[in-house]
Structures are given as C-alpha cells and as structure tokens.
Amino acid sequence: MPTPFEHLASFDRLVHEPSRLAILTALSACEKADFVFLRNVTGLTKGNLSSHLVKLEQGGLVAIEKTFEGKQPITYIALTREGRDVLKSYWKRFDKLREGVRRLKPLRTV
C-alpha cells in the first residue's frame, strides 16, 4: 500500500495549485462559465486568472470559447472530458492521502 508521501508525490501539479483547483472545482459543477463568474468565485485578479486559464488550456483540462452576446464579447470556459477525469482522480488521491495522514501515528521519542 502506498504511503501518504507517495500519494503526495503523485499529485498532478497542474491541478494541485490552489487557484487552479478552485477554477476546476467551479467548472466541475456546471457545463461552462464565463470569465467574470470565475473571477468572482475565485477572487483572482484578471491577470492571474488569465495566466492560470492559459496553463489549464495548454494542459488540455479546459476549453476556452470566445463569443458575443449582442455586441458584448464573452469568454466562456468549460472543463474538457480529460479535465473532468483528471479532477476526479485528483480527488480520489486527495481522499486517500487524507485517510493515510489520519492513520499516521506520531513517532515516540525516547
């Protein structure tokens, strides 16, 4: 059985970063969301959110779609199928890690 540290080492760094995890979590509960929604939910600045989205898009976890509603440009972001799978397996590992940490016993010092 892998130790908690082995679980930790196997985490996908692209997903594990807190801001990116927040973005992916928000997207996992809907079909797609626009930039303003993600900015509101995560509290990230425009620049930070953009840079995280670029990384997630390059990693194939999200798809970015630029469209217009009337004359207003809107950027929609959606989780790809791969993104959903990666996030699912991330949470599985995360829960295993928590379970493993809970089972750890403190070392006794003499």
Binding site: D34, N40, V41, G43, Y76
Partner: protein, 210 residues
C-alpha cells in the same frame, strides 16, 4: 487542508446552485403574486377560486417585464454560467404535470391549484433538506402552504371555500419574498467567503511587503 477543502466545497456549492441562488427573481415573483392576488381578494366583492387563479396568472406580467433587467444585473455583477446538462428542468415539469393531473383525475373534488401548492411545499422541503443548513429558510414556503391547507380545510377550516385558493397564493407569494431575498444574500455571502482566502493572502502579501 480541511479549510482548503471547505473552501472548495463552498465553491462547488456556489457553482452548482448559482442559478437557484439568484433569488431576486423569486422575490419579485412572490411580491407580485402577493400584491395582485391580495389586491384581488380585497377589491373583489365576492372573490372566487377561479378569479384568484386569473389574478395569479396576471401577477406574472410584471415578472416577465422585470426579468430581462434582473438577468442583466446577475450577468454583469456575478457573471454567466451554463448549467450542467445533467440537470433536466423539463423532467421536473413532466413529473409535476403527471402528478397534478393524476390527482385531479383520482380526486375530482380536489380544489383547483391544490396539487400545485402541494408540489411547491414538497419541492421547498426538498431544497431545505438537500442544502441544509444553508437554505433551511425554504421551510418557510412549506409552512406557508401547510398553513394555507389548514385554514382552508373543508372540516375545521377558517376560510370560506371561495377564498381558499386566493389565500394560498397570498401566503405562498408572501413567503417567496424573504426566501428570494435570503437566496440572493446567500449568493453574495458565498461569493465573499469563496474569495476570502485570496483576499486574505493578498493582504498578508501587502503587509509583508511593507
């Protein structure tokens, strides 16, 4: 770790319930229903259940008129989001039509609108349980319908038979106003709490720089 998980759970709840929490629409519909139906009950010389039904339908006019403005407000203030395809409002609508028409067929003496009110009560109860404790205030709508049924009961009820439906709509509309407002406030609160750690870390960074 648990605090981080809690924040993510909050974000997930916010994203999953984003449309439901846009409560100003519900508050507007409730206020309109309460005012129009209440006005009808006061102004009509002899109110009838059919008249109350018409008044309830008329109360949708200001709601339809105000909806685009509210849609724009939510889109610009909180952003846009498209629900997951797994959500099927038409399925709920289908169940509602089948259940209410079956009830009307099986129990012909059932007053008009009663199945609708019963479904509203059950749906409110379900929302309160599903999102407990966040949206426990939905029990208010269930309570309003239960009170409506109690006062309009054929035996031991307080209302004349011609006032039953109007009173139920009035009670339901009145209960929808605080529920809608509380949903809206919950949306604002969850948004604030979801981004709070970012703000806190930014503040600590600023503090650290200084």
């Amino acid at each position: 770790m648990d605090q981080h998980r809690l924040r993510l759970d909050r974000i997930r709840l916010l994203s999953a319930r984003f449309h439901e929490l846009q409560g100003l629409r519900v508050a507007l519909a409730g206020a309109s229903m309460a005012l129009v139906v209440g006005g009808y009950l006061i102004a009509a010389p002899r109110p009838t259940n059919n008249g109350a039904m018409v008044a309830m339908l008329v109360s949708f006019v200001p709601v339809v008129a105000g909806m685009p403005r509210l849609n724009r407000y939510y889109a610009t203030t909180f952003g846009r989001q498209v629900w997951s395809p797994s959500r099927k409002p038409w399925l709920f609508l289908g169940v509602y039509i089948v259940v209410s028409s079956s009830l009307n067929t099986w129990i012909p003496s059932i007053p008009a609108g009663t199945p609708t009110m019963a479904i509203v009560a059950l749906a409110s109860l379900w929302v309160a349980i599903r999102d407990w404790p966040w949206r426990g205030y939905y029990l208010g709508a269930t309570a309003a319908v239960v009170i409506g049924f109690t006062v309009s009961a054929p035996v031991g009820g307080l209302l004349a038979p011609n006032m039953t439906l109007g009173t139920m709509f009035l009670l339901l509309g009145t209960s929808m106003v605080p529920i809608g407002l509380l949903d809206h406030l919950l949306l604002v609160k969850l948004m604030k709490e979801a981004r709070a750690p970012e703000a806190a870390s930014a503040a600590s960074r600023i503090g650290g720089d200084g």
